[in-house]
Symmetry: C2
Subunit: 692 residues, 2 copies
Amino acid sequence: MTGDTQRSVPHPAWLPDDAFAAVGSRRVVVAGDGVLAGTVAEEVAAATARFGGAFSRLEVGDGVSDAELVLTLAHSDSSSHDHSTDESFRFTREAGAVVVQAETDAGMLHGLFHVVRLGEAAFEGPDADETHAPATDLRMLDHWDNVDAHPVMGQVERGYSGGSIFYDNGFVRADLSRVERYARLLAAVGINRVAINNVNVHAREAHLLTDDLGDVVRIAAVFRRWGIRVHLSVSFASPITLGGLTTSDPLDPGVAHWWVRTAARVWDAIPDFGGFVVKADSEGQPGPFAYGRTHADGANMLAAAVEPYDGLIHWRAFVYDHRQDWRDRSTDRARAAFDHFQPLDGAFSANVILQVKYGPLDFQVREPVSPVLAAMPRTQIALELQVTQEYTGQQKHAVYLGPQWSQILGFRFWDLAGGDGGSPTVADLATGRGKAAADPGTGTWHKPAGGFAAVSNVGDDEFWTGHPFAQANLYAYGRLCWDPTLDPEAVLDEWVGLTFPGAPDAVGQAVHAVLDRSWETYEQYTAPLGVGFMVRPGHHYGPDVDGYEYTPWGTYHFADRDGIGVDRTARTGTGYASQYPSPWRETYESPSTCPDELLLFFHHVPYSHVLHSGKTVIQHVYDTHFEGVERVEAMIRAWSAVSKLVDPRLSERVAERFAEQLRSATEWRDQVNTYFLRKSGVPDERGRTIYR
Amino acid sequence: MTGDTQRSVPHPAWLPDDAFAAVGSRRVVVAGDGVLAGTVAEEVAAATARFGGAFSRLEVGDGVSDAELVLTLAHSDSSSHDHSTDESFRFTREAGAVVVQAETDAGMLHGLFHVVRLGEAAFEGPDADETHAPATDLRMLDHWDNVDAHPVMGQVERGYSGGSIFYDNGFVRADLSRVERYARLLAAVGINRVAINNVNVHAREAHLLTDDLGDVVRIAAVFRRWGIRVHLSVSFASPITLGGLTTSDPLDPGVAHWWVRTAARVWDAIPDFGGFVVKADSEGQPGPFAYGRTHADGANMLAAAVEPYDGLIHWRAFVYDHRQDWRDRSTDRARAAFDHFQPLDGAFSANVILQVKYGPLDFQVREPVSPVLAAMPRTQIALELQVTQEYTGQQKHAVYLGPQWSQILGFRFWDLAGGDGGSPTVADLATGRGKAAADPGTGTWHKPAGGFAAVSNVGDDEFWTGHPFAQANLYAYGRLCWDPTLDPEAVLDEWVGLTFPGAPDAVGQAVHAVLDRSWETYEQYTAPLGVGFMVRPGHHYGPDVDGYEYTPWGTYHFADRDGIGVDRTARTGTGYASQYPSPWRETYESPSTCPDELLLFFHHVPYSHVLHSGKTVIQHVYDTHFEGVERVEAMIRAWSAVSKLVDPRLSERVAERFAEQLRSATEWRDQVNTYFLRKSGVPDERGRTIYR
């Protein structure tokens, strides 16, 4: 399974051989047909061979009296489930013997990995009978990989883990063994859809849709064995650039026909192809606006082309004026997605999914949850997260994003923090379940649901993700897609258990000490109180407080000698706060009720403004920046105490990353503190060193 | 003479055919041998054929009774002057007949262009007998051209005029016709040396010294016909990278021997080769420091290798710590060249020239004159200027640099402004003439002199220089090298007369209205009062007030809510001011005597500090930024009134550049004003619009 075009045999991540010890040492039966049942059988056969168990492949319903683990289809005739999206499984344990039964072979595969995750615990404890099903059928990862290396963005846009696992030097790799390993890792955490190319579709990538479709067929074949469907990002201008037409007007019959024929060819080659991802009329990408058409016109035309195949159109809502004038304080980029899309609620076809970033700006360490998620009850909306750490340390900083995602998933638009007045969570809205499935109060629910999407963080790096600890983010994303209510610390436990099997407890404790509050730590030493950015333009790494302040990108903090923040209130500001339903519109509207962590996102306040914490804004800036660096130092101490207990290569990589994190955090601390000391003139009340 | 590998036939710049009307319509005799006499004869033959004059080629001393212009060697035997550097000529006019007589054919060529520049005026007026000689033998242009396009810097580092005229796609161009046109333009303004590759010597360019020497031979052959010698920039690591040695230690005999052999090969191929340009131990370039050797060790080793051929080593003094910590206010990049080199005065060999930028930082619109120029009386020093507008608008802004250079050339280190207490000017120091040749007071003079060098601004652009008006900078540089005492406005007159022959007077008046104060205008709308930078990092175009404030580059302004500027005094600052001799060290030391335009270079002062102009610093910032944009608007009006009177392509190019200059100047005005309003809180006393 080594690929000589890959840099090295990659780290096993959360599927080292030892993770299969519990399964592999038992008598296991696999029963049922289907491609994924075959995959399950191969996994079990390999594990039992390694760990001394026994493996039998039987027909459904055959006698299995002495088996300790049975993985089986519920019915011998699985053909009726060929097109089923049912991925659930039933887990029963009776006197230490486990049966996993599923309606489809996909359910069997998820059941197997459920048992793997549990390890010995799967076979211990009282008898059990549980049914497990994913919160949504749509659990997707987007790869912003370029076929040709982009002159600025490189081979993977926002890639901090080496080159692409799919492409090399302008072509799809001949050796896809690394993709196979990746598909297995994704299957083990429940991901079932992957878009394999950048949403910024350049000339070379565009051809995946047509001339190079054969290569997509090869990639899809690899993912298929792991229950994962492949999607492509496509350019809205494809009828012109690939089809030789003179227009890509969505209402032009020739354009629609071109897409119909193109979709037919794609599904003819890949019957289980997933669909198209589109970034249109955003940051220079082409779209329907050129023809005076709406986003709905554009999306629905594509949707019609893919509808016969149950194909999906993921249409991104990341649309804003990226040629803004910093002098103009009335334009607010944060408003843009809502302003563009909310009026189109109900206008999209049933197989269009509007893909909405979690916040109104761009994957900052702290943003309010995007109001678009609450504003379109008649639209399928996917919540878009970012596993790749674009603004959160670029896989040089140890930042575990599970707590951020968990907080977003649990946010309730119609209840204040901690409340549960019967209103759905963001996860409910994205999955169409829970409180969003049937809310008798409003009658507006039975929400159509778009599930989850996120930007992947892997590359051809030895550890997949640059920082070995960034594997935990990929792991957590998959697990939270399956069950958004999981506790992110418990998910981290799972990841540690699988990734460091047999390691002393101290290793797991150290990982927790490093990662549990690492998102908060990163927030502490970077942009304060929700104001965002303050990063170096272009690559977005490291501090530059005024880096975006006078640019066309619409991301400002408006700091002056008296105060800082963006007034987004309805009363005196841009009105963004009123895009939220009550009670949040009122909560955000007033600095006296706005949560501290978002204060500067919603309000321009004097440095002397007193937070709910009792500190002034300026002292909060100083305190958090000093504390953030102290916490990084503590993280390093915690890890150093156990680093000799793990694989020395991993240990070396982590040490190298920590050195950079400490350097960078210190630079953040000093630049931010100096910037605000120079501007405010207010000294640190504790007299610590702030350079002038 | 068209080159089909070039984009188009380039604009004739200051040598349109019509510039030769006065010469071409007369009876002209050319007498004398030598390559350049041949060039003179060709020029005259072409001009007389075009304008109906008559051309005779005679022997020196032949009767020439009816000639209206005679260009002749002084002696029939020119062989004694083969290696002479005498470029002077004698111009006599008697009853309207002109004789140009020179000791060498180079002098003849300069004499011809002298007559061309004068036009009809050469033949008019009273009888005359004048001897013209250049202020220095060393009048050089450096090309920062890369053979291979650099991934960041492109084909020409700091090039704002398209690609290289020398190189294309990794090779020296087969068609050098554009180089020939360029050589002719340079000869016409008196340039006599050209370094043809970037001082940052990358892998590809390094081979010009060895494998690709044949291509340098071809380029040298083109320049030779125009009296111009070719130099190469070389890497100090060449013995390793090209020679396969394990060291480039200047005291290693093998290294010295490698350079001796390499120099022998170069001069064998190009007997009039000029020498090597070296950027060592600066901004990542290799140098003698790696071996614990000094700059003198390094330069002298190279000097020994080229000495048998009268070769020169141009050793750049642009050496500083580019990994500075912004937190450390004691390190001062401005001090670096002096601190590095002044202790080495007298240690350099006779054929080493220390090439010193005009200011201590990096070609800013305003800097104090570098104290290194005054600090090394026993060292040949070349003054380095920058014709390419790196920090002065990148040939998008109309900025005539003649006045800046004239001010620098006329600066006297031992006299206050306007004084002439017997002390030499910077031009005297660079040329070893004037007051520097013999100063009875100090007895330290008879200064060895390194002449002038500058970074060229040409590329394969249709107008050579991007902005057609930037041609005037190239023209003025050549003319000021020949005679540093020329009035830059008079030089501009010359350029206008040659470039727009026959145009109505209004054109010349408009060019003057645009360019005469354009340097000051650019200063007005960019970084104020000598503080420098405030540009976008990397490309250095457009405003970013804090762009370099927290970087390792050592270029800071230290603006806070109370004041701005860098304390470089001896008493409380970095001590840079004391690098100057009296009276300037005392003058710069005190804010009460420091000239306004350099105040923030030398002092950190409150915004309320009152300038000699009577304005506060903050009001000066606002006023100059408003006035700068108003002046650009006036420039555009002035030019618009005459733009239809010139070549429409040139007019179109100028209009396009003016649109960008106005946009950019407005952006500068608003960013700088807003930055300081936010920081100081002081409103504009005239109540103009400053965005908050």
